[in-house]
């Protein structure tokens, strides 16, 4: 058996040379000082491969046009098993790749491994860093939600500020006029067609150069015998890759990657934020105003990249031990402090309040289709804490029956009678009577009638602001004049699509004095508490068109 295997191997090697090549690669000699500090390059390559793999999987179910991108991504997230995990891996993988590439550069910088004759290796590395950032920039647009759209609007306008090149860059990115179908196609093309092969070529060149010059030795290595790359260093690389992967997998499972509402170019209230690794640039930009802005947006980043490229030529001193490279250590520390400071400032200046009222479209949003009465029913269900004895959507305590399974077999009259005197309808029931009035019980029953196994989790996802807003709507009998999701009256205007017609502040003022803002309106004024007003307005603004 063993002899036969060796025979096959030899035959293959004779024809392809693959065995010899692999051996040459694995048994390459590396300096005695090599070890754990040199694992980052391998981890970066691994993460690139994870990105390519998960990216291809996403592309199998993704339609790269502004018309379909958002819906197909929602389909991946809400309807495909494992879709959330794959997107999570791709999203967090992008962030981790930037972290690891930067760590790799910091290591090389601290050790002075860029010194003669390894200048070219360093420069290719800097280009790879820029390519990694380019993935982040182009990939950001692809979900085509508000975050993606507005983030890219800012990016393309920054590109337009570049001296001399500005107009050409804008045209190249298809951003002339506005971010639209052309920009989208360009970004997608860059992200999946141009950047990946470029990355492969650059990684190939980078590794070739590393092998050509050998792994950079530390002072004192000359006196010691070299050692083979395999298996000890490969083992260390593998352990590092495994740890990175474990972190990535945990992030993908635990940390929610939100999907905001579909990109809305008319939403003037949206405050765009870049991805965390660009926040320091975003903050830098704020330091420069008016005609100086171009310094923050183009000149400083340009100078930074140029300096990075020139590092091997600026520092031409002889190789010394890493612990004695005080200037390099100081530079890294200063850069880290500067970066953290700018990022922290940007994070702290991010408005917090709005996020509470945001809808996460990466989860099913069947609740958006409910009538206000049914939504209010969810509110009573939550207020009465029904979940302490009943299960819906796999959540809750199974003391009483699972309502997703039993509620569909009853009608509203039975339920309301049961709510008032549980044991009368179901002898022996230990359920306490619900202390609500008839219209409230009616709302609760209407919600339970809507409940089934297919939508239970989706209804459970209804955010509190929308549920509370619907309660306010229901208690004030807005449905007596207005239509929501096809339920109600048409005396006043239907409220679906209100967000398109009016601004938030207009709606909030309108509640207090309707005839002032729309003369001739027969709507009575409503004195709502600030919280109720906020919830109701947010609920109405969340309604589907």
């Amino acid at each position: 058996m063993k002899a036969r295997w060796r025979g096959i191997n030899e035959w293959l090697d004779h024809r392809t040379g693959i065995h010899t090549a692999v051996n040459k690669f694995l048994y390459e000699e590396i300096p005695a000082s090599s070890g754990w500090h040199q694992v980052f390059g391998s981890v970066a390559v691994f993460l690139f491969l994870v990105q390519a793999f998960t990216g291809a999987l996403l592309a199998f179910n993704y339609a790269p046009t502004p018309g379909d991108a958002y819906n197909s991504l929602r389909y991946i997230l809400t309807e495909l098993t494992g879709g959330k995990l794959i997107r999570g891996l791709h999203h967090w993988g992008a962030s981790m790749m930037i972290v690891v590439v930067v760590l790799h550069m910091v290591q090389v910088f601290l050790y002075g491994a860029y010194k003669k004759p390894r200048e070219a290796t360093w420069i290719v590395g800097v280009v790879l860093l820029l390519v990694t950032l380019a993935y982040g920039l182009t990939g950001y647009l692809l979900p085509w939600d508000n975050r993606a759209y507005w983030g890219t609007v800012v990016t393309t306008q920054i590109a337009a500020q570049a001296p001399v090149l500005g107009p050409y860059l804008t045209r190249l990115l298809g951003g002339e006029g506005a971010v639209g179908v052309v920009t989208f196609a360009r970004f997608y093309g860059l992200h999946v067609l141009l950047l990946p092969p470029a990355t492969l070529l650059l990684i190939g060149l980078h590794v070739f150069l590393v092998r050509k010059h050998g792994v950079a030795p530390a002072p004192g290595d000359d006196a010691l015998p070299k050692k083979p790359f395999y298996p000890v260093q490969v083992f260390k690389d593998t352990v590092a890759i495994f740890v990175a992967f474990a972190v990535l997998l945990t992030l993908a499972i635990v940390a929610r990657v939100p999907l905001e509402q579909l990109a809305d170019p008319t939403d003037t209230s949206y405050i765009p934020r870049p991805e965390w690794y660009f926040l320091f640039l975003f903050q830098t930009l704020k330091l420069f105003n008016g005609p100086l802005e171009v310094i923050g947006s183009v000149v400083l980043p340009g100078v930074a990249v140029l300096t990075l490229i020139l590092v091997p030529f600026l520092d031409r001193t002889a190789m010394v031990k890493v612990t004695r490279r005080t200037v390099a250590i100081a530079v890294v520390l200063l850069a880290a402090i500067g970066w953290s400071g700018l990022t922290a400032a940007a994070v702290m200046s991010t408005p917090k309040e709005k996020s509470v009222l945001e809808i996460d479209y990466s989860a099913p949003t069947d609740w958006l289709q409910l009538s206000p009465q049914e939504m209010a029913g969810i509110g009573y269900f939550r207020h009465e804490n029904c979940i302490s004895c009943h299960v819906i959507g796999g959540r809750g305590t199974p003391v009483g029956p699972d309502l997703t399974k039993t509620a569909i077999h009853k009608d509203a009259a039975w339920m309301i009678a049961h709510f008032k005197r549980p044991s009368a309808m179901r002898p022996g029931s230990s359920m306490p009577p619900i202390q609500l009035n008839d219209s409230q019980l009616n709302a609760l029953a209407s919600f339970l009638l809507k409940l089934n196994e297919g939508n239970a989790t989706a209804l459970d996802n209804a955010p509190d602001f929308a549920v509370e807003g619907a309660l306010v709507y229901q208690q004030n009998r807005c449905g007596a004049c207005h239509l929501v999701n096809g339920v109600g009256m048409k005396i006043g205007p239907p409220l679906n699509g209100l967000a398109k017609r009016q601004s938030r502040s207009w709606v909030e003022e309108h509640f207090a004095a309707p005839d002032k803002l729309s003369p001739g309106s027969i709507m009575p004024p409503y004195k709502l508490s600030p919280k109720d007003l906020e919830n109701l307005t947010s609920y109405l603004f969340a309604l589907p068109e």
Binding site: A63, E79, L80, T81, T238, I241
Partner: protein, 171 residues
Amino acid sequence: MQTVPSPRSDGISRRYLFVGAIYGLWALISAALGIPALIYLLFPPKARKAEEWVEVGDITRLVPNTPVEMTFRKNRVDGWKVTSEKSTAWVVKDASNRVTAFGPQCTHLGCAYHWDDAKSEFLCPCHNSLFRADGKVVSGPAPRPLDRYEIKVNGTRLLIGRLNQGGEKKS
């Protein structure tokens, strides 16, 4: 790695440990990526709303044993889209007034067949499959009877549901 060469047997077992760990960790990583990928690609999408019944037409005017092609619009869930598309059914009433609706494609290779009045048989022009008015194969390469829609009769209106493979269910 140590610069002092360790005793030979010890060196070999250390080497096995490293190699084993390398293979083991890579196997774990591959499984953690590969299994979710297969699930993602192979599991069907979560079922959306149960298919609705679509009204196709009036069945009072049907002549027994003379199939009529009826056209209707149907919502089809296609990935992330729901498309409304034109679809047809061959509807036939038998002597005992029982109504059947056949899918419009031949069970051989999916060509559109039609009713041949002269022969009183369904004829598929592609490879000459012939079916009786009750959908059974008379001759030709068709491997199974015509596919049938699930149907409901609401007064005089015919409602159509899912399309089932012919010969799958006896109704």
